[in-house]
Amino acid sequence: MLLTIDTNDPRPIYTQVADGIKELIARGKLAEGAPLPPVRQVAADLGVNLNTIATAYRTLQDEGLIVIKHGSGAVVASRTTTEHSPDELIRQLRAALTDLVLAGFSTRKILALVARELK
């Protein structure tokens, strides 16, 4: 259960943290009801500002993936996000696939890539 932060990544750190936790939930490494370390602890461990982690946790809460209980930390609420509708997600997938095709990826390579990411 590892969270990666890359200073070369153009995404801000709070997005990297939120995406990292989201990925752990999607992969089933953080099951429903699993506790997340408190905001203060993650901020202290990673050596980042408290607000960075608080923003990441709020993002996850807004998406319905975690529940923040004041005083007792956060827990994983669900493996299904409530923020995006299926149509919207399909649009995002189509856009990503278009980018891959335009970047010269073959259909076989795209399928292999998707299969690898789903593992």
């Binding site: 259960m1 590892l2 990666t4 932060i5 200073t7 070369n8 953080l30 461990d45 990673l46």
Partner: protein, 318 residues
Amino acid sequence: MMDPVRGSLVLYALFWLVRINGCIRRGRQPLLRGREWFFDVHVPPDFYDGAGRRLLHHYWMRMMMPFAVDIPIATWIIMSGRFVWLNGLVAVLGVFIHINHLISVDLAERQARKFALDEPVAAVMLSLTPRRLRQYVNWKLELALIVTTVSALIWGREHWKPLAILLYLHVGLVYVKHLIVAWRRPVPREQAEEHMAVQEAKRKYYLATLDWWRGVLTMQVLVWPAPFVVWFVFAIVATIVVEIKRKQLARLALRARPVIMPDLLDQAKIARWPLCYAPSAPLLMLKGARGYSINLANTCAVIGLAYVAGFMVLGHAL
């Protein structure tokens, strides 16, 4: 039974033997990874022909400081015939040597960083796997400690004052254990497994050391005051065990290449040495330009300071 004067002299002589071994070990520490390294700082090949030689000599001189403190005091104790005071001197010097070493290594590394070849790593990883103190508890040992302490409290009520202080120290050591288990550090994405293995080995080493100290305190609670011979045997056994464990740890640490971690907070701007208050940066210690600074906005720092204050109050009251 060894008489206390002779015992103190033997303990002091043993302390010198251990120190000479420790001095040699600490003296070699900067070059443990070869001439391309100064402690954990990757330096140019000609580093030891110029500035590196000076830094190395300064580090070695700082390692001699405890001798400069020890020799005049020990001479005065021996000349004045207060041989039993040597035990206190050994205890104080033991702490002083470790603190002096930690500060010296930190200072030497900071001075060498100007010549470092490596840049801070870009990608770091943090384990989110929960860790609990109970995962690292030796239940047989804990049971023995509890039974011993409770028995001593029932049958040794006439010595309640030292027992109260020993129990307070016991609680403090358990809290430090909790901190060690809870403390996480990110590792570089490259060689993440090796770095995590070193972290885990260090964690177990420090926890085992603390358990040794808790064992000593419990022994003191049981037999107050513990006869000198008990301390003597313990000192020898502890020295051998610690030395073996330390060598194992050093070998393991060499497998993970040291890296400079990225400073995501610009800590040098926040941290004012030696104390600071930075609620937005909840780290226990922040690395400032002059060294580590204790962050008073961190709960553990506040509990630690309250504990020390409580110890002083308890000592004064008893």
